[in-house]
């Protein structure tokens, strides 16, 4: 388990540095890097304009820009947001709580509801379950997160439910498959042959063995929830990280976007690593095998 944890941490570190490098490269090579709207002001002299260009283009080429970014991370302020005129670390501190509640709540609600639905449909006849599950998850997968957010606003419901609705079909589809496989396994057949009660079979022999998979799906769902939180927060005007990403994209606030790329990579990979550790702790044989 410790090895798994250490591997996860090293993976987070390496992917963060790589994501930062990729982000810095894209930013540096993106068209219009170093230009700002203020330069178009006709009252400015050529010298002022040149100074502004020098300051906006600080960092020079890609390696220097990357080094500049790493230094800002080590300093702890993560750089400065040109559009919001504040240190990025401050912006993150203010907004992280709202998004964390949304993502955690939405993931938990979506996975729990998906799991419950999958268990309920397991008891239905196969054609009916296939029909309801297929139709329901297809429709739920087909509604954009932004429309879910609009529905939440219209119906005056907490936007956490929009995040949950984005997670639900993914969790349901995977868990329904896993539960069906578990229900068709040999030990369940043996339990039936021995006359074990229906509910005992369901909870002890079908549902209990797949609880590790529920944890694994939760790790994957964090990424989906994070993705969904961007349009949801933008549409619902929630001052979270999703809204910050949207605002940064609309105003081409590239330093914020580089830091967000790294942060989101860390959170999603961290969630996956945590899931792996939890699953390994629950089932050491499986963890050891990996």
């Amino acid at each position: 388990m410790l090895v798994l944890f250490a591997r996860g941490v090293s993976r987070i570190l390496s992917i963060s540095l790589l994501a930062g490098l990729i982000g810095a490269t894209f930013v540096r090579l993106g068209p219009g890097f170093g230009a700002s709207v203020q330069e178009l002001d006709p009252r400015l002299s050529d010298a002022t304009r040149a100074e502004m260009q020098r300051r906006n283009g600080a960092g020079g080429d890609v390696p220097r820009y990357y080094a500049h970014w790493v230094a800002s991370v080590l300093r702890g302020d993560l750089g400065f947001s040109p559009s919001l005129q504040r240190p990025i670390s401050e912006l993150l501190r203010e907004r992280a709580g709202i998004t964390a509640v949304e993502v955690a709540g939405g993931t938990a609600a979506g996975v729990a509801t998906g799991f419950l639905l999958a268990v309920v449909l397991l008891g239905c006849p196969r054609p009916l379950a296939s029909l309801l599950g297929g139709l329901g998850s297809s429709v739920a997968l087909s509604v954009p997160a932004a429309v879910m957010a609009l529905l939440c606003l219209w119906l005056d419901v907490n936007p956490v439910w929009a995040v949950a609705a984005a997670v639900l079909p993914h969790a349901f589809q995977y868990l329904a498959d896993v539960l069906r496989t578990s229900a068709a396994s040999d030990h369940v057949l043996a339990a039936r042959a021995r006359g074990v009660g229906r509910f005992r079979i369901l909870f002890l022999h079908v549902v209990a063995p797949v609880l590790g998979e529920v944890a694994a799906v939760s790790g994957m769902a964090v990424s989906i929830a994070f993705g969904a939180s961007i349009p949801i927060e933008a549409v619902c005007s929630r001052p979270g990280i999703g809204q910050l990403v949207w605002q940064a994209a609309m105003s081409r606030d590239l330093p914020v976007l580089v830091n967000m790329t790294v942060l989101i990579a860390i959170v999603t990979i961290g969630a996956n690593t945590l899931t792996d550790v939890v699953v390994a702790a629950r089932n050491p044989a499986q963890g050891g095998a990996r």
């Binding site: 029909l131 599950g133 954009p144 932004a146 990424s223 961007i230 349009p231 976007l257 990579a265």
Partner: protein
């Protein structure tokens, strides 16, 4: 690979068989009317009850559902190929004397706040979104074939690097990646350029999951008996790849193409709602949804929600048609 990545890989592997299944589903109507099961078996006369037992549950509800999905897709394709069949006006024509008109004989879905016919914009918007998604799916499948095929065929360090790269791509939320890369490009562009940017964005960023599937398929093909036999017969290199491996990848590539379609339609919609998709006055299903941000107007003009309904129907139909559970009830 993390557990979540493995789940994704497992799901991706499941999709591998979808190409063949999707091709099979095209002959569904023929099958249900003639024979099911062993086709070589001679046809026998059956009593009505046996026919009912054989062809209704579970086939009828699922079949009906799929028939509806096919009908929706057919209509969408018709709208994409020949929008003039469904509407006569242009998507940017403004009827200044008819602003925010309710549905009537002249404007079946009413007009928007610039006096443009909503039906016309919906038809052209569906065309933009579907054609864009098809083109982007083609591009991403082509890139996945190149990257995944090379990784699976060559193996070694290249394979590891590709797997690592796809891991990184998959670990970042798709919409976030789209937003970030879109923000790096100029925002104030012409409608045509915005269309091209959105298409390139979806196509160039959507290759990671398909590349993993393609790599797995190529690895399994490389280890298969017939490739071994072809090697033994003296075939090697590009010839072996083109003659033996590529034809056997067709089902997987077809499946990846179809699986990408609903994802790209949805992504375009999300980008459109956020104002980073196709620019006005060119309509797309996503840009039509922007109007819904003033959700209070839904109380007075509930028909404005129709683009969202159409989008959901089209994407759900795509999901149902390519879904394994629907192809194999």
């Amino acid at each position: 690979m993390t557990r979540a990545a493995r789940i994704r890989a497992t799901t991706a592997r499941e999709w591998e068989t979808l190409g063949a299944l999707t091709a099979r589903s095209c002959s569904w109507l023929v099958n249900i009317l003639h024979t099911r099961g062993n086709r070589t078996e001679p046809r026998r006369s059956r009593s009505g009850r046996e026919w009912w037992r054989r062809y209704t549950p579970p086939y009828l509800p699922v079949g009906l559902l799929r028939a509806v999905a096919y009908a929706v897709l057919l209509l969408s394709v018709a709208a994409s190929v020949a929008p003039a069949l469904l509407t006569r006006s242009s998507y940017q024509q403004q009827y200044r004397e008819d602003i925010n008109v309710a549905p009537c004989a002249r404007f079946p879905l009413g007009t928007d706040d610039l006096g443009r016919d909503r039906l016309t914009r919906l038809v052209y918007g569906a065309r933009t979104s579907l054609l864009l998604a098809c083109a982007a799916a083609l591009l991403s499948t082509a890139i996945a074939t190149l990257v995944g095929g090379a990784a699976g065929w060559i193996g070694g360090g290249l394979e590891k690097a590709v797997l690592w790269g796809t891991d990184l791509f998959i670990s970042l939320p798709w919409l976030f990646l789209l937003l970030t890369v879109r923000a790096l490009l100029p925002l104030d562009v012409s409608p045509g350029s915005s269309l091209a940017i959105t298409f390139l964005l979806l196509g160039l960023l959507g290759w990671a999951s398909p590349a993993r599937v393609v790599r797995a398929r190529v690895r399994s093909l490389v280890a298969s008996d017939f490739v071994l036999q072809a090697r033994a017969c003296g075939s090697s290199g590009v010839r072996l790849f083109v003659r033996q491996v590529v034809p056997n990848m067709k089902p997987v590539l077809l499946a990846q193409f179809f699986v990408s379609l609903p994802l790209f339609v949805l992504s375009e919609a999300n980008l459109g709602v956020l104002g980073l998709g196709v620019a006005e006055p060119l309509p797309s299903l996503g840009s039509l949804l922007r109007e819904l941000q003033e959700y209070s107007m839904l109380n007075s003009r509930p028909w404005a929600i129709l683009p969202a309904v159409v989008l959901t129907c089209v994407v759900a139909s795509l999901h149902l048609v390519v879904s394994r559970s629907e192809v194999q009830p």
